[in-house]
Symmetry: C2
Subunit: 242 residues, 2 copies
Protein backbone atom coordinates (compact mmCIF):
# COMPACT_ATOMS: atom_id res chain seq x y z
CA UNK A 1 0.00 0.00 0.00
CA UNK A 2 1.30 3.46 -0.91
CA UNK A 3 1.78 5.82 2.00
CA UNK A 4 -0.52 8.82 1.78
CA UNK A 5 1.56 11.84 2.84
CA UNK A 6 -1.57 13.60 4.02
CA UNK A 7 -1.77 11.18 6.95
CA UNK A 8 1.20 12.75 8.70
CA UNK A 9 0.04 16.29 7.93
CA UNK A 10 -3.31 15.44 9.52
CA UNK A 11 -1.59 13.97 12.58
CA UNK A 12 0.30 17.21 12.96
CA UNK A 13 -2.82 19.37 12.56
CA UNK A 14 -4.58 17.43 15.30
CA UNK A 15 -1.68 17.00 17.71
CA UNK A 16 -2.98 19.65 20.13
CA UNK A 17 -6.53 18.34 20.20
CA UNK A 18 -7.17 16.31 23.35
CA UNK A 19 -10.50 14.63 22.52
CA UNK A 20 -12.06 14.03 19.12
CA UNK A 21 -15.71 13.08 19.34
CA UNK A 22 -17.72 12.10 16.27
CA UNK A 23 -21.47 12.57 16.63
CA UNK A 24 -22.98 9.86 14.47
CA UNK A 25 -26.31 8.22 14.00
CA UNK A 26 -26.67 6.17 10.87
CA UNK A 27 -30.20 7.60 10.71
CA UNK A 28 -30.86 11.09 9.37
CA UNK A 29 -33.20 13.64 10.87
CA UNK A 30 -32.71 12.65 14.51
CA UNK A 31 -31.16 15.99 15.49
CA UNK A 32 -27.48 15.23 15.03
CA UNK A 33 -26.57 18.76 13.92
CA UNK A 34 -28.60 20.35 16.69
CA UNK A 35 -26.99 18.13 19.30
CA UNK A 36 -23.49 18.78 17.93
CA UNK A 37 -24.16 22.51 18.18
CA UNK A 38 -25.67 22.32 21.66
CA UNK A 39 -22.84 20.14 22.94
CA UNK A 40 -20.22 22.56 21.57
CA UNK A 41 -21.98 25.55 23.10
CA UNK A 42 -22.34 23.80 26.44
CA UNK A 43 -18.70 22.63 26.67
CA UNK A 44 -17.52 26.09 25.64
CA UNK A 45 -19.63 27.71 28.36
CA UNK A 46 -18.10 25.30 30.89
CA UNK A 47 -14.69 26.71 30.06
CA UNK A 48 -13.41 24.03 27.69
CA UNK A 49 -11.71 24.96 24.42
CA UNK A 50 -14.01 23.59 21.75
CA UNK A 51 -13.87 23.09 18.00
CA UNK A 52 -16.83 22.05 15.86
CA UNK A 53 -16.35 20.49 12.44
CA UNK A 54 -19.38 19.92 10.23
CA UNK A 55 -18.78 17.03 7.83
CA UNK A 56 -22.43 16.41 7.02
CA UNK A 57 -21.56 16.18 3.34
CA UNK A 58 -25.11 16.14 2.02
CA UNK A 59 -26.80 18.49 4.44
CA UNK A 60 -24.46 20.69 6.49
CA UNK A 61 -26.59 22.81 8.80
CA UNK A 62 -24.62 23.74 11.93
CA UNK A 63 -23.60 27.01 10.20
CA UNK A 64 -27.28 27.94 10.14
CA UNK A 65 -27.87 26.88 13.74
CA UNK A 66 -24.84 28.83 14.98
CA UNK A 67 -25.26 31.83 12.67
CA UNK A 68 -21.97 31.35 10.86
CA UNK A 69 -23.40 31.81 7.40
CA UNK A 70 -21.75 35.12 6.65
CA UNK A 71 -18.37 34.31 8.12
CA UNK A 72 -15.41 32.84 6.23
CA UNK A 73 -12.34 30.98 7.46
CA UNK A 74 -9.19 33.06 6.94
CA UNK A 75 -6.13 31.86 5.07
CA UNK A 76 -3.03 31.94 7.30
CA UNK A 77 -0.53 29.13 6.72
CA UNK A 78 -3.62 26.97 6.27
CA UNK A 79 -7.20 27.87 7.17
CA UNK A 80 -8.16 29.39 10.51
CA UNK A 81 -11.57 28.24 11.68
CA UNK A 82 -14.30 30.81 12.14
CA UNK A 83 -14.87 32.10 15.69
CA UNK A 84 -18.39 31.70 17.07
CA UNK A 85 -18.71 32.99 20.61
CA UNK A 86 -15.35 31.36 21.34
CA UNK A 87 -15.99 28.11 19.47
CA UNK A 88 -13.63 27.31 16.60
CA UNK A 89 -15.92 26.41 13.74
CA UNK A 90 -15.25 24.77 10.40
CA UNK A 91 -17.71 23.31 7.92
CA UNK A 92 -17.71 21.54 4.61
CA UNK A 93 -20.10 24.30 3.51
CA UNK A 94 -17.11 26.66 3.17
CA UNK A 95 -15.64 24.27 0.64
CA UNK A 96 -18.78 23.53 -1.32
CA UNK A 97 -20.86 26.68 -0.82
CA UNK A 98 -24.50 26.02 -1.49
CA UNK A 99 -23.95 24.25 -4.76
CA UNK A 100 -25.41 20.76 -4.96
CA UNK A 101 -22.80 18.39 -3.68
CA UNK A 102 -22.64 15.30 -5.81
CA UNK A 103 -19.44 13.40 -5.31
CA UNK A 104 -18.26 9.87 -5.81
CA UNK A 105 -16.22 8.07 -3.19
CA UNK A 106 -12.76 9.18 -4.21
CA UNK A 107 -13.73 12.85 -4.38
CA UNK A 108 -15.41 12.66 -0.99
CA UNK A 109 -12.30 11.21 0.60
CA UNK A 110 -10.17 13.90 -1.01
CA UNK A 111 -12.40 16.70 0.24
CA UNK A 112 -12.40 15.35 3.77
CA UNK A 113 -8.64 14.87 3.80
CA UNK A 114 -8.21 18.38 2.41
CA UNK A 115 -10.31 19.85 5.23
CA UNK A 116 -8.28 18.02 7.88
CA UNK A 117 -4.96 18.82 6.21
CA UNK A 118 -5.69 22.51 5.84
CA UNK A 119 -7.50 23.46 9.07
CA UNK A 120 -5.38 24.95 11.84
CA UNK A 121 -7.10 24.21 15.14
CA UNK A 122 -5.67 25.81 18.25
CA UNK A 123 -5.17 23.79 21.42
CA UNK A 124 -8.54 22.18 21.92
CA UNK A 125 -10.04 20.17 24.74
CA UNK A 126 -12.77 18.87 22.44
CA UNK A 127 -13.19 18.65 18.70
CA UNK A 128 -16.80 17.74 17.94
CA UNK A 129 -17.46 16.30 14.47
CA UNK A 130 -20.96 16.37 13.02
CA UNK A 131 -21.10 13.28 10.82
CA UNK A 132 -23.36 12.66 7.83
CA UNK A 133 -26.14 10.09 8.17
CA UNK A 134 -25.38 6.66 6.82
CA UNK A 135 -22.32 4.52 7.14
CA UNK A 136 -20.55 5.24 3.91
CA UNK A 137 -17.34 6.77 2.73
CA UNK A 138 -17.07 9.51 5.33
CA UNK A 139 -17.24 7.11 8.24
CA UNK A 140 -14.74 4.72 6.67
CA UNK A 141 -12.34 7.54 5.84
CA UNK A 142 -12.55 9.20 9.22
CA UNK A 143 -11.83 5.93 10.93
CA UNK A 144 -8.87 5.39 8.66
CA UNK A 145 -7.26 8.80 8.92
CA UNK A 146 -8.16 10.19 12.35
CA UNK A 147 -6.52 8.56 15.32
CA UNK A 148 -8.23 8.38 18.70
CA UNK A 149 -11.68 8.97 17.31
CA UNK A 150 -14.47 8.39 19.84
CA UNK A 151 -18.16 8.18 19.05
CA UNK A 152 -21.35 9.47 20.56
CA UNK A 153 -24.31 7.89 18.83
CA UNK A 154 -27.64 9.68 18.72
CA UNK A 155 -31.16 8.41 18.04
CA UNK A 156 -34.75 9.46 18.48
CA UNK A 157 -37.14 7.24 20.48
CA UNK A 158 -38.69 5.49 17.47
CA UNK A 159 -38.13 1.86 16.59
CA UNK A 160 -37.55 2.77 12.96
CA UNK A 161 -34.64 5.06 13.86
CA UNK A 162 -33.21 2.66 16.41
CA UNK A 163 -33.17 -0.12 13.82
CA UNK A 164 -30.65 1.84 11.77
CA UNK A 165 -28.76 3.25 14.75
CA UNK A 166 -28.28 -0.28 16.01
CA UNK A 167 -26.43 -1.16 12.81
CA UNK A 168 -23.97 1.66 13.33
CA UNK A 169 -23.40 0.60 16.94
CA UNK A 170 -22.82 -3.02 15.93
CA UNK A 171 -20.34 -1.95 13.27
CA UNK A 172 -18.40 0.28 15.67
CA UNK A 173 -18.33 -2.42 18.33
CA UNK A 174 -17.25 -5.15 15.94
CA UNK A 175 -14.45 -2.88 14.73
CA UNK A 176 -13.44 -2.01 18.30
CA UNK A 177 -14.04 1.73 18.01
CA UNK A 178 -14.78 3.39 21.33
CA UNK A 179 -18.39 4.48 21.87
CA UNK A 180 -18.81 6.97 24.70
CA UNK A 181 -22.51 6.24 24.71
CA UNK A 182 -25.90 6.90 23.21
CA UNK A 183 -28.09 10.01 23.44
CA UNK A 184 -31.87 9.75 23.09
CA UNK A 185 -33.04 12.91 21.34
CA UNK A 186 -36.54 14.36 20.81
CA UNK A 187 -37.97 12.36 23.68
CA UNK A 188 -41.65 13.26 23.82
CA UNK A 189 -43.08 10.67 26.17
CA UNK A 190 -42.08 8.22 28.85
CA UNK A 191 -40.65 4.97 27.60
CA UNK A 192 -37.66 2.78 28.26
CA UNK A 193 -37.25 1.30 24.78
CA UNK A 194 -33.95 3.07 24.02
CA UNK A 195 -32.54 2.40 27.48
CA UNK A 196 -33.30 -1.30 27.12
CA UNK A 197 -31.69 -1.35 23.69
CA UNK A 198 -28.56 0.17 25.25
CA UNK A 199 -28.41 -2.66 27.76
CA UNK A 200 -28.89 -5.23 25.02
CA UNK A 201 -26.13 -3.66 22.89
CA UNK A 202 -23.89 -3.01 25.89
CA UNK A 203 -23.65 0.72 25.22
CA UNK A 204 -23.88 3.40 27.88
CA UNK A 205 -27.12 5.39 27.91
CA UNK A 206 -25.82 8.94 28.32
CA UNK A 207 -29.19 10.63 28.78
CA UNK A 208 -32.01 12.19 26.84
CA UNK A 209 -32.97 15.53 25.34
CA UNK A 210 -36.66 16.36 25.34
CA UNK A 211 -38.61 17.28 22.24
CA UNK A 212 -38.57 21.09 22.06
CA UNK A 213 -41.10 22.08 19.46
CA UNK A 214 -39.94 25.70 19.32
CA UNK A 215 -36.19 25.09 19.12
CA UNK A 216 -36.19 26.02 15.43
CA UNK A 217 -37.06 29.59 16.45
CA UNK A 218 -33.65 29.89 18.09
CA UNK A 219 -31.61 28.58 15.19
CA UNK A 220 -29.23 31.37 14.24
CA UNK A 221 -29.21 32.80 17.79
CA UNK A 222 -26.64 30.58 19.52
CA UNK A 223 -26.67 32.57 22.77
CA UNK A 224 -30.37 31.78 23.22
CA UNK A 225 -30.32 28.19 22.03
CA UNK A 226 -29.77 26.52 25.39
CA UNK A 227 -32.66 27.14 27.77
CA UNK A 228 -32.65 26.17 31.43
CA UNK A 229 -34.17 22.76 30.88
CA UNK A 230 -31.87 21.91 27.97
CA UNK A 231 -28.91 23.01 30.07
CA UNK A 232 -29.80 20.43 32.72
CA UNK A 233 -30.25 17.68 30.16
CA UNK A 234 -26.96 18.33 28.39
CA UNK A 235 -25.19 18.64 31.72
CA UNK A 236 -26.44 15.18 32.59
CA UNK A 237 -25.22 13.77 29.28
CA UNK A 238 -21.80 15.40 29.53
CA UNK A 239 -21.31 14.27 33.13
CA UNK A 240 -21.75 10.72 31.86
CA UNK A 241 -18.83 10.79 29.47
CA UNK A 242 -16.32 13.26 30.94
CA UNK B 1 -15.85 3.38 -21.84
CA UNK B 2 -16.53 -0.31 -21.51
CA UNK B 3 -20.12 -1.38 -22.01
CA UNK B 4 -21.60 -2.83 -18.83
CA UNK B 5 -23.69 -5.85 -19.91
CA UNK B 6 -25.94 -5.39 -16.89
CA UNK B 7 -27.40 -2.27 -18.52
CA UNK B 8 -29.31 -4.28 -21.09
CA UNK B 9 -30.41 -6.88 -18.54
CA UNK B 10 -31.82 -4.07 -16.41
CA UNK B 11 -33.60 -2.56 -19.41
CA UNK B 12 -35.23 -5.92 -20.01
CA UNK B 13 -36.24 -6.37 -16.36
CA UNK B 14 -37.96 -2.99 -16.39
CA UNK B 15 -39.53 -3.11 -19.84
CA UNK B 16 -43.02 -3.78 -18.50
CA UNK B 17 -42.92 -1.03 -15.88
CA UNK B 18 -44.81 2.05 -17.05
CA UNK B 19 -43.70 4.64 -14.47
CA UNK B 20 -40.63 4.61 -12.27
CA UNK B 21 -40.82 7.16 -9.48
CA UNK B 22 -37.91 7.77 -7.11
CA UNK B 23 -38.89 9.27 -3.77
CA UNK B 24 -35.91 11.36 -2.75
CA UNK B 25 -35.14 14.06 -0.29
CA UNK B 26 -31.47 14.75 0.25
CA UNK B 27 -32.40 15.17 3.92
CA UNK B 28 -32.94 12.17 6.20
CA UNK B 29 -35.73 11.75 8.71
CA UNK B 30 -38.39 13.64 6.79
CA UNK B 31 -40.63 10.61 6.33
CA UNK B 32 -39.45 9.32 2.98
CA UNK B 33 -40.01 5.67 3.81
CA UNK B 34 -43.41 6.33 5.30
CA UNK B 35 -44.46 8.34 2.27
CA UNK B 36 -43.16 5.69 -0.15
CA UNK B 37 -45.19 3.08 1.73
CA UNK B 38 -48.34 5.20 1.89
CA UNK B 39 -48.11 6.10 -1.78
CA UNK B 40 -47.72 2.46 -2.77
CA UNK B 41 -50.67 1.40 -0.62
CA UNK B 42 -52.84 4.19 -2.00
CA UNK B 43 -52.05 3.53 -5.67
CA UNK B 44 -52.61 -0.17 -5.13
CA UNK B 45 -56.00 0.49 -3.55
CA UNK B 46 -56.92 2.64 -6.55
CA UNK B 47 -56.42 -0.39 -8.78
CA UNK B 48 -52.95 0.31 -10.12
CA UNK B 49 -50.32 -2.40 -10.25
CA UNK B 50 -47.62 -1.22 -7.90
CA UNK B 51 -44.08 -2.24 -7.03
CA UNK B 52 -42.08 -0.82 -4.14
CA UNK B 53 -38.30 -1.03 -4.06
CA UNK B 54 -36.45 0.04 -0.91
CA UNK B 55 -32.93 1.21 -1.75
CA UNK B 56 -32.36 3.12 1.47
CA UNK B 57 -28.92 1.56 1.79
CA UNK B 58 -28.15 2.77 5.29
CA UNK B 59 -31.59 2.52 6.87
CA UNK B 60 -34.13 0.41 4.98
CA UNK B 61 -37.41 0.54 6.90
CA UNK B 62 -40.35 0.00 4.53
CA UNK B 63 -40.22 -3.73 5.36
CA UNK B 64 -41.06 -2.79 8.96
CA UNK B 65 -43.79 -0.35 7.97
CA UNK B 66 -45.42 -2.89 5.63
CA UNK B 67 -44.83 -5.94 7.80
CA UNK B 68 -42.63 -7.75 5.31
CA UNK B 69 -39.98 -8.71 7.81
CA UNK B 70 -40.66 -12.41 7.82
CA UNK B 71 -41.17 -12.80 4.09
CA UNK B 72 -38.48 -13.69 1.56
CA UNK B 73 -38.32 -13.17 -2.20
CA UNK B 74 -38.45 -16.48 -4.05
CA UNK B 75 -35.89 -17.65 -6.57
CA UNK B 76 -37.50 -18.33 -9.95
CA UNK B 77 -35.39 -17.43 -13.00
CA UNK B 78 -34.35 -14.42 -10.92
CA UNK B 79 -35.99 -13.16 -7.75
CA UNK B 80 -39.75 -12.73 -7.41
CA UNK B 81 -40.66 -9.76 -5.19
CA UNK B 82 -42.59 -10.41 -2.00
CA UNK B 83 -46.35 -9.89 -2.15
CA UNK B 84 -47.82 -7.44 0.36
CA UNK B 85 -51.55 -7.03 0.00
CA UNK B 86 -51.03 -7.01 -3.77
CA UNK B 87 -47.96 -4.77 -3.81
CA UNK B 88 -44.79 -6.27 -5.26
CA UNK B 89 -42.14 -5.54 -2.67
CA UNK B 90 -38.36 -5.73 -2.82
CA UNK B 91 -35.81 -4.32 -0.42
CA UNK B 92 -32.08 -4.09 -0.03
CA UNK B 93 -32.65 -5.61 3.42
CA UNK B 94 -33.12 -9.02 1.75
CA UNK B 95 -29.60 -8.70 0.38
CA UNK B 96 -27.91 -7.36 3.47
CA UNK B 97 -30.05 -8.76 6.28
CA UNK B 98 -29.59 -6.79 9.47
CA UNK B 99 -25.84 -6.78 9.36
CA UNK B 100 -24.19 -3.38 9.43
CA UNK B 101 -23.90 -2.22 5.88
CA UNK B 102 -20.58 -0.58 5.25
CA UNK B 103 -19.77 -0.36 1.61
CA UNK B 104 -17.55 1.75 -0.57
CA UNK B 105 -18.78 3.24 -3.81
CA UNK B 106 -18.00 0.38 -6.14
CA UNK B 107 -19.66 -2.21 -3.88
CA UNK B 108 -22.75 -0.04 -3.54
CA UNK B 109 -23.08 0.26 -7.29
CA UNK B 110 -22.69 -3.49 -7.68
CA UNK B 111 -25.34 -4.24 -5.07
CA UNK B 112 -27.82 -1.87 -6.69
CA UNK B 113 -27.16 -3.22 -10.15
CA UNK B 114 -27.53 -6.75 -8.82
CA UNK B 115 -30.93 -5.94 -7.34
CA UNK B 116 -32.16 -4.45 -10.60
CA UNK B 117 -30.67 -7.24 -12.70
CA UNK B 118 -32.17 -10.00 -10.60
CA UNK B 119 -35.65 -8.76 -9.68
CA UNK B 120 -38.52 -9.94 -11.86
CA UNK B 121 -41.28 -7.34 -11.66
CA UNK B 122 -44.58 -8.16 -13.31
CA UNK B 123 -46.34 -5.63 -15.46
CA UNK B 124 -46.45 -2.56 -13.25
CA UNK B 125 -48.16 0.78 -13.56
CA UNK B 126 -45.88 2.25 -10.92
CA UNK B 127 -42.55 1.25 -9.46
CA UNK B 128 -41.88 3.41 -6.37
CA UNK B 129 -38.26 3.60 -5.25
CA UNK B 130 -37.44 4.65 -1.70
CA UNK B 131 -34.08 6.41 -2.01
CA UNK B 132 -31.44 6.86 0.66
CA UNK B 133 -30.87 10.35 2.07
CA UNK B 134 -28.00 12.27 0.58
CA UNK B 135 -26.91 12.69 -2.97
CA UNK B 136 -24.20 10.11 -3.26
CA UNK B 137 -23.51 6.96 -5.16
CA UNK B 138 -27.03 5.57 -5.21
CA UNK B 139 -28.48 8.64 -6.84
CA UNK B 140 -25.71 8.83 -9.41
CA UNK B 141 -26.00 5.14 -10.23
CA UNK B 142 -29.77 5.13 -10.50
CA UNK B 143 -29.66 8.06 -12.85
CA UNK B 144 -27.07 6.32 -14.94
CA UNK B 145 -28.70 2.90 -15.19
CA UNK B 146 -32.44 3.46 -14.95
CA UNK B 147 -34.08 5.08 -17.93
CA UNK B 148 -37.17 7.24 -17.56
CA UNK B 149 -36.65 7.86 -13.89
CA UNK B 150 -38.94 10.54 -12.44
CA UNK B 151 -38.57 12.15 -9.04
CA UNK B 152 -40.87 13.15 -6.23
CA UNK B 153 -38.98 15.16 -3.67
CA UNK B 154 -40.11 15.23 -0.07
CA UNK B 155 -39.35 17.63 2.76
CA UNK B 156 -40.64 18.63 6.17
CA UNK B 157 -41.64 22.23 6.82
CA UNK B 158 -38.36 23.27 8.50
CA UNK B 159 -35.84 25.61 6.93
CA UNK B 160 -33.00 23.28 7.89
CA UNK B 161 -34.51 20.41 5.91
CA UNK B 162 -35.47 22.62 2.97
CA UNK B 163 -31.90 23.90 2.73
CA UNK B 164 -30.72 20.38 1.88
CA UNK B 165 -33.76 19.46 -0.18
CA UNK B 166 -33.17 22.55 -2.29
CA UNK B 167 -29.72 21.24 -3.23
CA UNK B 168 -31.22 18.01 -4.53
CA UNK B 169 -33.81 19.91 -6.54
CA UNK B 170 -31.18 22.20 -8.06
CA UNK B 171 -29.05 19.21 -9.01
CA UNK B 172 -31.95 17.39 -10.64
CA UNK B 173 -33.04 20.50 -12.52
CA UNK B 174 -29.54 21.33 -13.72
CA UNK B 175 -29.20 17.76 -14.97
CA UNK B 176 -32.61 17.89 -16.66
CA UNK B 177 -34.16 15.05 -14.68
CA UNK B 178 -37.96 15.27 -14.46
CA UNK B 179 -39.34 16.26 -11.06
CA UNK B 180 -43.03 15.49 -10.68
CA UNK B 181 -43.16 17.80 -7.70
CA UNK B 182 -42.56 18.30 -4.01
CA UNK B 183 -44.45 16.89 -1.03
CA UNK B 184 -44.48 18.72 2.30
CA UNK B 185 -44.56 16.09 5.02
CA UNK B 186 -45.17 16.34 8.77
CA UNK B 187 -46.92 19.67 8.41
CA UNK B 188 -47.91 20.71 11.93
CA UNK B 189 -48.97 24.32 11.51
CA UNK B 190 -50.02 26.79 8.88
CA UNK B 191 -47.25 28.29 6.84
CA UNK B 192 -46.43 28.92 3.23
CA UNK B 193 -42.65 28.64 3.41
CA UNK B 194 -42.42 25.41 1.41
CA UNK B 195 -44.97 26.57 -1.16
CA UNK B 196 -43.03 29.76 -1.72
CA UNK B 197 -39.81 27.79 -2.09
CA UNK B 198 -41.51 25.70 -4.76
CA UNK B 199 -42.37 28.82 -6.72
CA UNK B 200 -38.83 30.11 -6.37
CA UNK B 201 -37.38 26.78 -7.57
CA UNK B 202 -40.03 26.32 -10.23
CA UNK B 203 -41.16 22.96 -8.87
CA UNK B 204 -44.77 21.87 -8.52
CA UNK B 205 -46.10 21.79 -4.95
CA UNK B 206 -47.97 18.48 -4.93
CA UNK B 207 -49.56 18.86 -1.51
CA UNK B 208 -48.91 18.20 2.15
CA UNK B 209 -49.26 15.41 4.67
CA UNK B 210 -50.11 16.45 8.22
CA UNK B 211 -48.03 15.50 11.22
CA UNK B 212 -49.65 12.33 12.62
CA UNK B 213 -48.13 11.75 16.01
CA UNK B 214 -49.56 8.26 16.36
CA UNK B 215 -48.66 6.93 12.91
CA UNK B 216 -45.85 4.84 14.41
CA UNK B 217 -48.50 2.74 16.15
CA UNK B 218 -49.68 1.52 12.75
CA UNK B 219 -46.28 0.54 11.40
CA UNK B 220 -46.49 -3.15 10.62
CA UNK B 221 -50.26 -3.02 10.01
CA UNK B 222 -50.43 -1.80 6.41
CA UNK B 223 -54.20 -2.20 6.15
CA UNK B 224 -54.69 0.32 8.96
CA UNK B 225 -51.95 2.75 8.00
CA UNK B 226 -54.05 5.07 5.85
CA UNK B 227 -56.77 6.77 7.87
CA UNK B 228 -59.51 8.90 6.35
CA UNK B 229 -57.64 12.16 6.63
CA UNK B 230 -54.44 10.71 5.20
CA UNK B 231 -56.44 9.21 2.35
CA UNK B 232 -57.64 12.68 1.36
CA UNK B 233 -54.18 14.17 1.57
CA UNK B 234 -52.53 11.46 -0.53
CA UNK B 235 -55.39 11.60 -3.02
CA UNK B 236 -54.70 15.31 -3.46
CA UNK B 237 -51.00 14.66 -4.01
CA UNK B 238 -51.56 11.83 -6.48
CA UNK B 239 -54.12 13.83 -8.45
CA UNK B 240 -51.42 16.44 -8.96
CA UNK B 241 -49.00 14.15 -10.76
CA UNK B 242 -51.14 11.54 -12.53
Amino acid sequence: MIHDPRTSIIDKRLENVKNIIAIGSGKGGVGKSTFSSLLSLFLNKKGYKVGLLDLDIYGPSTHLILNAEDKTPQEEYGLKPVDINGIEFMSIIYFTQNKPLIMRGKELTDTILEIFAITRWNNLDYLIIDMPPGMGEVLLDLIKFIKNLQFIVITNPTKIAMETVEKLIRFLKESNYPILGLVENMKNKDGTFVKEKCKELNVKYLGHISFYEDIENYYGIPEKLINQNLDKEINQIVSNFT
